[in-house]
């Protein structure tokens, strides 16, 4: 166990951007966002609600799920910006031995 006691006022060191700690933290936050959005899909609070009619014709629960779709898009933007597997691309495209320039099966 590693206990870190700190006195009041003592500064807490921040993870250096790009360090393993920062990457882990970033992945943790993104995973929480994904789980949170998945949970938000089950909107029991609008289960039987029709009103208010948004724009005069869209039942509130349908509007909620349309907004949910936009939120999913925004989450994908965050994933692509913050967790894109760039080295996967390098790994796949680097020169290889074997037939056809690819690693043989």
């Amino acid at each position: 166990m590693n206990y870190n006691f700190r006195f009041a006022g003592e500064s807490v060191p921040r993870p250096v951007p790009g360090s393993p700690d920062a990457r882990t933290m970033k992945k943790f936050v993104l995973a929480l966002l994904v789980i949170g959005l998945y949970a938000a899909h089950h909107d029991i609070w609008f289960w039987t609600a029709v009103r208010p009619l948004v724009f005069g014709f869209l039942p509130i629960s349908l509007f909620y799920h349309a907004s949910y779709t936009v939120a999913a898009c925004l989450l994908m933007v965050a994933l692509v910006k913050l967790a894109w597997p760039e080295d996967l691309s390098r790994w796949a495209e680097e020169d290889r031995r074997g037939p056809g320039g690819r690693e043989g099966r």
Partner: protein, 550 residues
């Protein structure tokens, strides 16, 4: 008449695109089956999305909304908007990388190499191929239904289905993956435009949506609904939808990445960057097509003439076409009908995927390519396209179940339950071929169970109490509803099947010997820097080497 002419014009354009692609082709397997892994961002996004959207997206969704109401959007669309791009981001990118690096052309080829699995791969192929057939049948059946409705019964369903199957078969036969991707791109643009135009035209035709919704909320039970004591207001909420069913539907989109045609499409991207916009824009594309269709399907329930027509034919999938017929001028209904045809004709990539799987996983794997050469392999693939299309057409014309139910019961459920295979392949080093086999057999057994009980117990009428098949202590364990089987009072079969499939993968993998260290090292390189000097290992394989494990 004008509508029929417009749709036939559309079919001619699609056929021309496929044949034009043929002129750009080369006589190699990789070119015919994967378009030489050359699809750019734009074509990749639209063709992948178009491949995923079938007749279920327009005809099935509006038909189900007609019965069930607006809840259908949350049931299938908004959950897909999160789950599908997420699986493309996490697994699709890895499938692309494995395919690019090791020259794999099918998911089974990846499974075989990743798990040192020879004949087990053949078992997985057989299960995947059997599950893909219903999905192809959905497309062919939808083609017949649509042409029949658009032409006002001038073109019978058997002829419409046959014409659609013939056009699809022709451009897949000639154009291969390139032709399929180009046609899908054209189709996606067309049916994405459909949603917007349909909502404006039909909104005007029904006298405004606000007035219609208020009428539905206020109206006493409509005679055409069979004197339901609840009127139509329940369609505007989910009061009649079981939360357990709603939850289990969120598992269905897991099927997307496990479908071989989607997996194979992931192998066609030119570079990994092509996935970026696909992942980001996918949710919005889903909304553009599903939101209008579900909303319009719900609104259609307020039209007594549509109720009469649907009750007479017993076919809910005609709802959108009837709405267009009632509310749009003939020429516009023709263009919108072409948009529907665009979604309906998504069976192209499934037929091509089946052909790719057969020629790669069976013909080439068992020595056909070595003996007869690549030219004969491509020829075999083309012959398979013809055979599969004829087979799908024959089954489609002799099956009477609704589009949505056929697809959901077998193909979607089966592939969603195969999702653990994809996760284990991409992320779990310790997973084994025996785990993969166990998971696959559990899915096959589960689907046989579903098919048996669905046929043994008659379908209760829509809205009627489900019949109890198994019960314990007075609580229903297994019931037969109008939409299929339900477990524990509402869970779709996909929920228990997915859990059992994942358990089989984990338990059997832990009990059996893992793949060789060399295999694991090839797929999950060690923690050395990608820029570090390359180390050659005995046997000529390189080991290297990403800074992070994949």
């Amino acid at each position: 008449m004008t509508e029929t002419v417009v749709v036939f014009l559309y079919l001619s354009i699609v056929l021309y695109i496929g044949i034009f692609a043929f002129r750009r082709s080369r006589a190699t397997g990789e070119d015919y089956f994967l378009a030489s892994r050359s699809l750019g961002t734009f074509v990749f996004l639209f063709s992948l999305f178009g491949t995923n959207m079938t007749s279920v997206a327009i005809l099935g969704s509006s038909g189900k909304a007609f019965d069930t109401g607006i809840g259908v959007y949350g049931l299938m669309a908004s959950s897909s908007a999160l789950v599908i791009p997420l699986t493309i981001f996490l697994i699709g990118t890895r499938v692309w990388a494995f395919g690019k690096r090791f020259a794999h052309m099918t998911p089974v080829a990846i499974f075989r190499d990743r798990w040192d699995a020879g004949h087990i791969g053949t078992v997985i192929f057989a299960v995947q191929a059997l599950l893909l057939m219903p999905y192809i049948i959905v497309g062919v059946k939808g083609g017949g239904t649509t042409l029949n409705a658009i032409s006002g019964d001038r073109v019978p369903e058997w002829l419409g289905g046959g014409l659609v199957a013939l056009v699809v078969m022709s451009y897949v036969f000639f154009g291969g993956m390139r032709g399929t991707a180009w046609v899908n791109t054209f189709q996606t643009i067309l049916f994405l435009s459909f949603g917007l135009v349909a909502i404006v035209v039909i909104g005007h035709g029904v006298g405004g949506f606000s007035a219609t919704v208020e009428r539905m909320l206020a109206e006493s039970p409509h005679p055409a609904t069979g004197g339901s004591p609840h009127g139509l207001a329940h369609l505007l909420s989910r009061e009649r939808m079981s939360p357990a069913t709603f939850f289990s539907y969120t598992l269905i989109p897991l099927s997307s990445i496990a479908f071989p045609h989607i997996c194979i499409f992931c192998l066609t991207a030119k570079r990994l960057g092509s996935f970026r916009r696909t992942v980001i824009l996918y949710p919005l594309c889903i909304m553009a097509i599903w939101l209008p269709c579900v909303y319009l399907g719900t609104i259609a329930a307020s039209d007594p003439s549509i109720h009469s027509a649907v009750d007479a034919s017993g076919n809910r999938d005609q709802v959108m076409l009837l709405l267009l017929r009632n509310n749009a001028p003939e020429w516009l209904a023709g263009i919108l009908g072409a948009g529907i045809m665009a979604a309906v004709m998504a069976s192209d990539s499934q037929i091509l995927a089946l052909s790719t799987m057969f020629t790669e996983d069976i013909f080439a794997y068992y020595g056909g390519k070595r003996v007869f050469g690549e030219r004969i392999q491509v020829l075999t693939g083309r012959a398979f396209v013809v055979g599969a299309t004829i087979g799908a057409y024959a089954i489609a014309m002799t099956t009477r179940e609704k589009i949505f139910d056929i697809a959901t019961s077998y193909a979607f459920t089966g592939y969603a339950a195969l999702f653990p295979l994809m996760v284990a392949m991409a992320f779990w080093r310790r997973s084994t071929r025996w785990g993969a086999l166990a998971s696959t057999l559990v899915v096959a057994g589960g689907l046989a169970f579903i098919a048996y009980y669905q046929n043994a117990y008659p379908q209760p009428p829509l809205g009627a109490e489900p019949s109890v098949i198994w019960a314990a202590g007075g609580a229903p364990l297994l019931t037969r509803t109008s939409a299929g089987l339900a477990f524990l009072g509402g869970f779709l079969p996909v929920a228990p099947l997915l859990v059992l499939s994942a358990l089989a993968m984990v338990v059997v993998s832990l009990l059996t010997r893992p793949p060789s260290p060399e295999t694991i090292e090839r797929y999950f390189p060690g923690p050395r820097s990608i820029s570090s000097p390359r180390v050659e290992e005995p046997g000529g394989r390189d080991s290297g080497l990403s800074s992070r494990r994949m």
